[in-house]
Amino acid sequence: MSSVSTNRDDLSFRPAFVGSPSAVDAEPVSQVQPPPLPLAKTWSIIFLIYTGIAILLTGYRYLDDLSRNRPGTLAIRSLEEITGVYTAFVLLPLVFRAADLYLFRPKRMNWVLTGFWHIVAGVTFSLAHTSLMAITREIISPLVGLGRYDYGIMFYRYPMELSNDLVGFTSIVCLYYYFRKFRLAQAQELAAAQLKTKLAEAQLENLRLQLQPHFLFNTLNTISSVMYEDVKAADQMVTQLSDLLRLTLRASRTHEIPLGDELQITRLYLDLMQKRYEEKLRVRYEIDSALSDALVPQLILQPLLENSLRHGMKASGEAIDISIDARRENGSLTLKISDTGTGFGSSDPNSVLGRGVGLVNIRDRLAQLYGGGQTFSIANRAGGGAEIALRLPYRTAQRSQLAADPAAANASDAGISAESNSSDSEPSSLPSVAPLRPLSQDQ
């Protein structure tokens, strides 16, 4: 029984973020970009809005003239407002580009600097806008039979339009800023939701795997045989099987767990498999012990091992060697699972992925968690057998913990203490536990 309690102590399985999965989500998901907008449609809508503004402003100016008893100005007011509004429309792409540069490019917002660049951009916009208005009116006015257009003294025009333009410029930039923020938040929400679905699927997959009736019944059959030969060994297998079931029931909702925790499940699983297959299965671990805090996606190794065992073992009954390799290379963590089995028998990645449902799920999860920061490769080994390698950005639990806000840290303390004195209440908080109910009732 001592092994059970040590296990429990080792199991800071729910690493720091209980109740606040977003603390973990934040980093990977922030790399998400919203899908591109349909350009033609977006610009058409903006153009229509500007046309509407031109009509309203013309009406405003013309009615003003009428109320002062100055009729006959409709044509000239239309010319003024149309040129005024459409020249601003033409400048919009530059406005957006400028806003990108000083609002979205900087990593940290400095209000003084942002304000400064905003005014610089606004003044530049106004200078360009006023000049464009003067030029277009000069050109168009004689063409539509309104004679030469008199814009007055430009020395006063520029500051006069500046006040107007600054207000317009600021409102456009504000709208643009909030629109982009809104879309980004939407995309992140979607990505986070998708990630959660994948994790739930992975958990289910894993449950199916360990509690797969095959695994369970075959392991029980082995125990029922071994207990005639070696009572101690049989007892140990019962403990290991229970620990494995318990760990699976406890699987946390976080996307990432320390490698040490992930390996604990892996070792139990492979130990049991080894006792079933005896000398036909040899396992070698090459794990850099400094990596036990490195974060890895939860439940990532097991489907890969299961894949090796189920599809790699040969019909001729030869022994299979499986090795699990974890090492750090510069800023990344490389996990490698290689075996001496039958290999994939094909170089086509699609038919390879078809070999196990789990592989597709893993590939998608990695892509969603780390985007371009990861690689997932499947290959046949030169000497026969398969090799699957994952390369992830190297991060440790500690570092993320510091990054999380104090509230999250408090929540994590509560989570750990809750875990250490409750064992039965935990599973009920998990969405994927439902299929296990009958089992826990039996116990």
């Binding site: 019944f217 059959n221 045989s225 005896e278 036909k280 065992l309 073992m313 040969k314 019909a315 028998g345």
Partner: protein
């Protein structure tokens, strides 16, 4: 445990050693019973059955590479008339819905893991009775079971190759192309090739059309083994495989699989 005229000769097949030991332990308590051997994979099971001609085989259904049904299929003969004196089979399985249903439909005995002693003795008693009643096993029964299981399982993952001294399985994904020559099929697997009895028509039915295509009267190629396809005359194609073999894709067979030429 000396061989007596009415003694039951038994073979135990399971890929996991502890599972075999469990059955062997139960069998050793029996009298007038001879354990002729044990096997830990499908290929050695076939070899042992052919060598020792046991009366009864405890056969694990799930084994990697080739499973218990592959063993039965090999023993009952893929239409090459080898099923002369097939043994009686008792299937052993951990959990397999459709197989268990098939066992019941075709009146085969089976054991569920973990194997319980009472059920084991009962199954063994029945096997002895049947063995005494008639020495021969109904080949029809075996074929019925295999046909049903194969239907459930879909296309074959592996093909049984028989040589004079041994039988073994070849994974279909290792085969690059299959050529027919009279009553024989030559499976080309890279540098190696295997010969089996059979016709291209019968093997075509067993292979997944997503993986294989018949490209002329006498050849089937694995699609992944194709390097390129070059248009030839009269709507025919020259198919070049990764191993540099060239096979002609005749027009009649091009029209059968037009989707293969379409861009994905």
């Amino acid at each position: 445990m000396t061989s007596q005229p009415d003694s039951l000769r038994v073979l135990v097949v399971d890929d996991e050693a502890p599972a075999r030991r469990k059955l062997l332990r139960l069998l050793r308590d029996e009298s007038t019973l001879e354990i002729v051997g044990e096997a830990d994979n499908a290929e050695s099971a076939i070899a042992a059955i052919e060598k020792y001609r046991p009366d009864l085989v405890f056969l694990d259904v799930q084994m990697p590479g080739a499973d218990g049904f592959d063993v039965v299929r090999a023993i009952s003969g893929d239409g090459d008339g080898r099923a002369a004196d097939a043994p009686r089979f008792v299937f052993v399985t951990a959990h397999d819905h459709y197989a268990v249903k098939a066992f019941e439909v075709h009146a085969f005995d089976y054991l569920l893991k973990p194997v319980g002693e009472d059920r084991f003795r009962e199954v063994l008693r029945r096997a002895r009775e049947q063995h005494k009643k008639n020495g021969d096993v109904s080949e029809k029964g075996l074929r019925g079971l295999i046909d049903e299981v194969l239907r459930e399982r879909g296309f074959s993952d592996r093909l049984l190759i028989r040589e004079e001294s041994r039988a073994y399985f070849v994974n279909v994904r290792e085969v690059s192309w299959i050529e027919s020559e009279r009553n024989y099929l030559i499976l080309h697997c890279g540098a190696k090739s295997h010969t089996m009895r059979g016709t291209l028509d019968s093997i075509e039915e067993m292979l997944d059309p997503k993986l294989f295509a018949r490209i002329n009267r006498s050849s089937i190629v694995r699609l992944d083994a194709i390097k390129e396809m070059l248009p030839w005359f009269h709507g025919e194609y020259r198919v070049i495989l990764h191993d540099k073999t060239e096979v002609r894709w005749s027009r009649r067979y091009v029209t059968r699989r037009p989707e293969l030429l379409r861009a994905p």
